[in-house]
Subunit: 210 residues, 2 copies
DNA sequence: TTTTTATCCTAATGTTATTAGGAAAAACTA
DNA sequence: TAGTTTTTCCTAATAACATTAGGATAAAAA
């Protein structure tokens, strides 16, 4: 049993080493310009050995976001637990997500630049999980409508599109510009502007008092 | 002279044929899965002949958005000419752009899925032109502030981010879902919601009367 | 110790982008 | 028009990679 464990650990360890090498190189040089030789050298292996761990280059590309996004999804529940009110939840959602992006910039770069272009993207686990991540927002907007924070005639899916669209736009630019500034610049203004559009006039004018 | 013209025309004609073949194949199969052999066959040429017209596969990829976006940029002036007021201009901008996307779905797909992932994207002419396209919006918001349509404390760059982010999000999803529905579904609601966040309270409540 | 299994390697193989070198055809010159 | 240059195109390399074959080494199991 102990031996079995250490075997699995070493196998797992090599796998992680390969993933980290790929992550680094993909995000530095792009998917196309990174070769299997590059990755295996970086990981201290021969190319052929790498194929014991992954089916190929594409499999390797898809594995990276898969791990990251599923971990995000798992964390999200925790993060929103106990927060009261739709606006507070939205705020937490945005700050949480951007912080996760800042903490894992390589993963984020791969997700935002290389994933969507992959022909299989729509059929991946990642895509399903990203959808779940965004579906949370629809729930939050609906909750806001029930408790009177959000306009009763707000279409939750449209609200989600605006929220996600803006968020993704900010992240994509950041990633393209090589993460050379803070993601949180002007975030308060942006958040207030967007959410202002969703809130009832009551809560909007109350907000003016701050 | 006449001969010279016909020569240029035939050269230009072949070039266009190659571009259209590449456009079709890239958007059908993706950039990576499309080979130079595919493209040259489709265009009725040998691979080697293609290299007389383009430096390579990447050059071909970048040429497609380059043509499309620079044509867009040229058209935009015309389209906004004579339209009075920031809100009306914004509306025209959005409807115009989405229509252009619908009319040139192959170009749009290439721009939205394959362009950003290219390592050289930031140094291309396309990127400069896309920036100009978006810079128009900043001007429109500033105009709206001057004439009182838009909130005086609105940050025009943030407004642009929200507008562009939402627009790009809608287009990206449409392109990923293989253009299987109309881009204009719910567009009115989306537009009103966004622009509602930017307008002064005065013009907001006036809007309610419609 | 022998056998099995996991991990890795060197050396193919096959696909694809790109180039070399030159033929065919068109355009130009005298 | 006959010769010359230029344009356009082709077949046949070359080179860069991804992926696979076949087997060596070493660890684990018997």
């Amino acid at each position: 049993m102990a031996k079995n464990n250490s075997k699995n650990n070493s196998k797992e360890h090599t796998r992680v080493r390969i993933i980290n090498s790929a992550k680094k190189l993909f995000s530095e040089q792009g998917y196309q310009k990174t070769t299997i030789v590059d990755i295996s050298k970086q990981a201290g292996l021969s190319e052929a050995a790498l194929y014991e761990y992954f089916q190929g280059k594409e499999d390797l590309l898809l594995t990276i976001p898969d791990l990251w996004v599923s971990e995000l999804l798992h964390d999200l529940d925790d993060q929103l637990f106990g927060i009261q009110g739709a606006v507070n939840k939205l705020r937490k959602y945005l700050w949480w997500y951007l912080r996760r992006v800042e903490q894992a910039p390589l993963d984020a770069k791969i997700v935002y630049l290389f994933l969507k272009t992959n022909a299989n993207f729509l059929n991946t686990e990642v895509y399903a999980n990203v959808k779940k991540l965004y579906a949370y927002l629809v729930d939050i907007f609906e909750e806001g409508q029930k408790n009177g924070e959000m306009k009763p005639d707000l279409n939750p899916r449209i609200a989600r599109d605006i929220f996600v669209g803006t968020m993704d736009h900010i992240i994509t630019r950041w990633v393209l510009k090589d993460m050379s500034y803070s993601l949180f610049d002007n975030l308060d203004q942006t958040f207030n502007l967007i959410v202002g559009a969703f809130k009832t006039d009551q809560s909007n004018s109350a907000d003016y008092l701050n």
